[in-house]
Symmetry: C2
Subunit: 244 residues, 2 copies
């Protein structure tokens, strides 16, 4: 057995780097603005192939992709969303509840493609390299696939929304997912009229973006000793004022 790597892969150029950042910074969670235009199979194949190249613990690749196009199946998921969303609204304090109810939180029926990503926790046998001490790593691998898919879709100018206001059991029932398979994400995909300049929840005044520098520590939790050039670099990049 050899562990030597294959030939080295190409460096990314400055232009390519800028494209990746453009994609990351302009990605949005889309729940409105889906158009009727179908997604070409060649495009969907590229997006799924990108997701399949996400990192996975022990190279487990524990994901499956359920492509949902049938209006009856979408309808069942939408009904499950509606039930969950009604319950969810009731959990917020009065002052937030009305604001919550005004938000648009899903695009299940409008998006031409819905996509459920699942985790088969037994795919690589009972002992998985890298999962021995952090048992969630297989679920986390599927989440890495979700975010990779999301960025690939943005690169195709296709919007993605993650609908998490769904009871897992309802999702299992709607899609016939057996007990041993864990649903991880239910996504809506489609072409859009445009991508908003900022997250919908920020625009709606629900919650603001936090200053990055307030979230960065050094060599220990909430440790910061003296001047840190990295914090100045963050300030220069984001225009945030220096933190105390």
């Amino acid at each position: 057995m050899t562990t030597s790597p294959g030939p080295a892969q190409p460096e990314l150029t400055q232009e390519e780097r800028a494209a990746v950042y453009k994609c990351i910074l302009n990605r949005r969670d889309v729940r409105r603005q889906f158009t009727d235009r179908p997604i070409d199979d060649a495009v969907l194949a590229r997006i799924l192939n990108a997701a399949h190249h996400a990192p996975s613990v022990g190279f487990m690749q524990p994901w499956d992709f359920i492509v949902v196009r049938d209006p009856a199946v979408k309808g069942a998921v939408f009904d499950a969303f509606t039930r969950a969303n009604t319950e969810a609204a009731d959990r917020f304090p009065d002052a937030r509840r009305d604001a919550y109810r005004r938000l648009r939180l899903e695009g299940i029926r409008q998006a031409p493609i819905n996509l459920c990503l699942t985790c088969d926790r037994s795919r690589a046998g009972p002992v998985v390299l890298g999962r021995t001490h952090q048992p969630e790593m297989d679920l986390y691998s599927v989440v890495c696939a979700v975010q990779t898919l999301w960025l690939a879709a943005r690169a195709e100018n296709i919007g993605v929304g993650w609908v998490s206001i769904l009871a897992y059991d309802d999702l299992r029932r709607a899609l016939g997912i057996p007990p041993e398979i864990q649903p991880v994400a239910y996504l809506c995909l489609g072409h859009v009229d445009g991508f908003a300049a900022e997250p919908d929840l920020q625009t709606a005044g629900w919650r603001a973006r936090l200053p990055l520098a307030d979230l960065v520590w050094f060599d220990g939790w909430q440790r910061r000793d003296g001047d840190e050039p990295l914090l100045s670099a963050i300030g220069a990049l984001t225009g945030e004022p220096p933190t105390d």
Copy 2:
């Protein structure tokens, strides 16, 4: 309160799309090949800012970033890895154990920067939009930040490795992380001599890449009725033979 979006964001061009795919398909989990070259603070600031633009449930942004540079702290984490890795090897059947022991699974001391991403589950109060029915969504948001950071680093030609063979309690002790904060990922970052053409675990014969088409279903778990043009498109893209 308005929920109207801001001005539409720019479409990505074909060249930009190609750059995003190049980044995604050539990302690797790096445990060897780190060089001594330090990471510029301006580069690290860009990478962290990318991670901070990951999606998060309810725009919660539950992440913190602990930058680890102190050799003593790295040493404590390396000791924790060594303990966990010895335990891990013992869990594999005989035939796999020797192969496991030959793998290089961390670059803690070689990488100039280690980075721990954590989740503050109480950051947005007890009730979080989108977490009411899927309580893991805040942890998953931090994983989205990890994968976003990983791709931004690849765009900077910086290698990243995710070290998950660590007991959470050891990680808490080494970094002073309090009980109410959940460690999610411990990463090693650094410039590299090159990126391998395929995952190390594939090169080592540990596990092969699965055919993508075997993982794609339609309107229900393991459902596939008749010819599916998407499967042909996947075959055309990946060169996989058609599945039954």
